[in-house]
């Protein structure tokens, strides 16, 4: 776009208009005036067209840095200024950015540092009203230029407001005509209004884009958490946060088991390698502050912070920092700490808000992943339990039935070789059942640490065996069982109970049985009674020998005698088994 397009129209008055007659002089004058006005109108129209073109240029883009540069360029062309600049204010009243046009790179390098907000540049910051000067140097507010700075005489400064807040200032110098006019000031003020709208648009657009990036990062993490392999979700969270927040160093810190310290679980970015595993007290940290309030913490400059430093600064001089708590349902799961190098752009409230949403997503995702791991563990235990139950309910029953069948066939045979073989088969089946039982207990035993009391263990045996019996055995406990029975006796006690009840199931044809366990400080007595056929059958001897052995091992005795449970009307003779061991 050529500067002419902004300029006032060329003079269209012919050089010489002459009329021979005197009376025409008046007309002549009128015409001259008319032409002059027309000329002015044309000039004004040209400038307005220039303003329109400048407006179009300014609002033609959505990328903030591009928009800012276009504003300065358009302003320079609009008023034919040689130099133009835009200073963006920071929160502390200084300048965070200074975008300038009109100087070549060499000159810029010669000048060195950009203006920090002193002199006229600062005057506009303190009092945001347009400043128009014929001679810059004559103004008392001006300070001398640094060496290498090109001379500047005429000056025009106009503030740019975004939603009533001063965003920055537009500075123009060296008008082509030698001076900026009141009209120039009006035009640039009008352009500044458009610039404010364009900046607001660009900001909203970039925020929208940023929000989308954070959302995408959240989705990615959720997906990763659903897979059991690949990158650790925490490291993905850190990596994504670093990318989206345009940060230099990001860590995820988790509390240690004692809850008094924090450990860097993952770190990504510059010098991250030396930070993983770093442990530090939780007290006096931004993270503890975030944990206490459940709110994120925004640190403007970590190097200048007087309260406490982040752990990031042990490896990298970070300035702007965001600390985002990862809030779990029951407790704080940890924190996400995002840092930029010292001197870089600060995180804004909008960044903090978006990052907080992201951290919320990440925390929920983590919670889900952990819950899934727990669930898998439960499934595993469930699986064991189911297998144990299947073995118990089905396999043992069928083996048992098969054993009984074979046994009944064998009983009808005369004692010979075939009968012996059948009986050996029965013994084999018995042994298998025993092994399966052991397996069941192994499977169930691993579900948790053994916390069962003597009482609960005997109860469990009774309920385990109740499916083999046509009835529920009655149980009776007496005395301080758990405190007097040593751990070393319990296995035998369980084995004896199991063996006795199994014997009843197999041989006694009983309709009732009872188990009575009593203990005092001197002895333990286990009494198992049934109302079955009694001891006539020879089959029960071997089992009894085993029980006796278990008693004798502890210096105790086994007594087997006929006898039915008290208050019983059964016709059977019944058996009473009394297993006693002394306590020293």
């Amino acid at each position: 776009m050529s500067p002419d397009e902004f300029g006032a129209g060329e003079a269209l008055i012919p050089e010489e208009l002459s009329f021979p007659d005197g009376p025409r002089l008046e007309l002549d004058q009128l015409l001259r005036q008319l032409l002059g006005h027309a000329n002015e109108v044309l000039a004004a129209q040209g400038r307005l067209r220039g303003l329109l073109a400048a407006n179009t240029l300014v609002i033609g883009d959505l990328d903030l840095p591009v928009v800012l540069r276009h504003i300065v360029e358009a302003a320079c062309q609009l008023v034919k200024a040689q130099y133009g600049a835009l200073g963006v204010l920071d929160a502390g009243g200084g300048l965070s950015q200074f975008i300038h046009v009109g100087m070549d790179e060499e000159t810029v390098e010669r000048i060195g540092a950009l203006p920090s907000g002193k002199g006229l540049v600062g005057a506009l910051i303190d009092d945001p009203r347009p400043i128009r000067l014929r001679h810059l140097a004559q103004d008392p507010r001006s300070v001398s230029f640094p060496p290498g700075h090109p001379p500047m005489d005429s000056f025009l400064g106009v503030p740019i407001r975004v939603r009533q807040e001063v965003f920055g200032n537009l500075y123009l110098a060296e008008a082509a005509s030698g001076e900026f006019t009141a009209e120039d000031e009006e035009l640039v003020t009008a352009l500044a209004v458009t610039a404010g709208v364009a900046i607001e648009n660009a900001r909203l657009f970039s925020q929208g884009k940023q929000r989308q990036n954070w959302l995408q990062a959240s989705t990615l993490i959720t997906r990763q958490l659903l897979s059991a392999e690949g990158e650790d979700p925490l490291s993905l969270i850190a990596r994504q946060a670093r990318q989206v927040a345009d940060a230099d160093l990001v860590t995820v810190v988790l509390p240690t088991a004692d809850g008094e310290r924090l450990m860097v679980e993952v770190a990504t970015g510059q010098h991250a390698d030396g930070l993983s595993g770093y442990t530090y007290p939780i007290e006096h940290t931004y993270a503890s502050q975030a944990f206490a309030t459940g709110r994120p913490v925004l640190v403007a400059d970590d190097t200048r912070s007087t309260t406490f430093r982040t752990h990031l600064s042990t490896v990298l001089p970070v300035g702007p920092v965001m600390v985002l708590p990862l809030v779990g349902t029951h407790r704080m799961r940890g924190a996400l700490v995002i840092g930029r190098l010292h001197g870089r752009l600060q995180f804004e409230e909008a960044d903090l808000e978006m990052a907080t949403t992201f951290a919320g997503h990440a925390a929920v995702a983590l919670e889900l992943a952990d819950a899934r791991a727990d669930q898998q563990r439960l499934l595993l235990l469930d699986d064991r339990d189911r297998i144990a139950r299947d073995l118990h309910d089905h396999v043992i029953q069928r083996l048992f039935a098969a054993g009984l069948n074979v046994q009944s066939v064998a009983a009808n045979l005369v004692p010979d070789d075939r009968r012996d073989r059948l009986e050996r088969a029965v013994a084999g089946i018995d042994e298998t059942i025993g092994q399966i039982r052991t397996t069941i207990f192994a499977l169930r035993g691993q579900v948790g640490p053994e916390t069962g009391t003597v009482r609960s263990r005997i109860l469990r045996i009774a309920s385990d065996l109740s499916s083999l019996l046509p009835f529920e055995p009655s149980l009776d406990f007496q005395g301080p069982l758990d405190s007097v029975i040593p751990e070393s006796f319990i296995d035998d006690l369980e084995a004896v109970t199991r063996e006795a009840l199994t014997n009843i199931a197999r041989h006694a044809q009983a309709s009732r049985a009872s188990v009575r366990l009593s203990a005092d400080t001197t002895s333990i007595t286990l009494e198992v009674t049934d109302d079955g056929v009694g001891l006539d059958s020879g089959h029960r001897r071997s089992g009894l020998a085993n029980l006796r052995q278990r008693a004798e091992k502890h210096g105790g005795t086994l007594l087997v005698e006929p006898g039915a449970p008290a208050c019983h009307t059964s016709t059977g003779k019944g058996t009473r088994l009394t297993w006693t061991i002394p306590l020293s």
């Binding site: 059991a228 088991a257 860097v264 030396g274």
Partner: protein
Amino acid sequence: MSQVTTVIHPQVITAVRRAAVRATLAPSIHNSQPWRFVVSGDALEIHIDPSRQLRVLDPRGHQVALSCGCALFSARAAMAACGLRAKVRRFPMGSGSTLAAVISVVSGAGPDTELAALDAVVEAGRTIRPAWRGEAVPPQLVSVLVDAASHEGAQLTTIAHLETRLAIARLPLPADRSRRTERIYGTGPQTWMSEELPQAGGAPPAADSDERTSAECLLLLSTAQDDPTSWLRAGESLQRILLEIARAGYAASPLAQVIELPQTNALLCAELGPRAYPNALLLVGSAVSAPQLRRRRLVDMLTQVG
């Protein structure tokens, strides 16, 4: 000689911590990661975590010691990469203790540059059952691996004889079957079993033995003794071999179950002859990259004292 107490340089502390973090990336059976690390000044302790021992597959605790050995080697390599020379005491409290090793920094000595180079591939060396591409392993690599093993006091044998290879290749089949029951009998969460899950990309399961006998190379790592300290050394040797394989751009799949099952172990012993005990059987070949195994949380594995 009087001992002068010196302040430990912050860089040393960082290096020791980094070594611990690098060590957590070591391979372990079923990714069980049966270890704990204690960083204490300029020393790093590696402890066995018995609660993460697979009771059915690994009743002797052999794989646990082997895994800790792998971690130990990674830590040594990491120290070397930071320019430090490390001194290692293995089972300083006796082989019955859970303290597997203590690594401490020796001041004033240069690092082992051979080890330092291996630290860079620690992340790549995390094996998961690979999908073989069927390219042969160059003999130069095998000789590098044999050297690596002997540096760490173990012996690496190539199982070249075709019939033996075929026999061993068939071994994992019954072993696999009994390993599957680990799901039921073993300890720990199912996530350890990630090796068992079918992989995307169609990796052939271990039972598919025909394919692997052709191009891949079968290596047997053995030690002269059969005690926890030897197992730990064998683990260091194993990790050195695995890292060399990763550095060369190849992949390895340890067939742990063949070592641990008594009947297959006996076969390997017979193959080796007297005074050599099998510690690891490795299938080495070229493979497409497989997804990484997940690491447990550092807060659960790492403690910093002081």
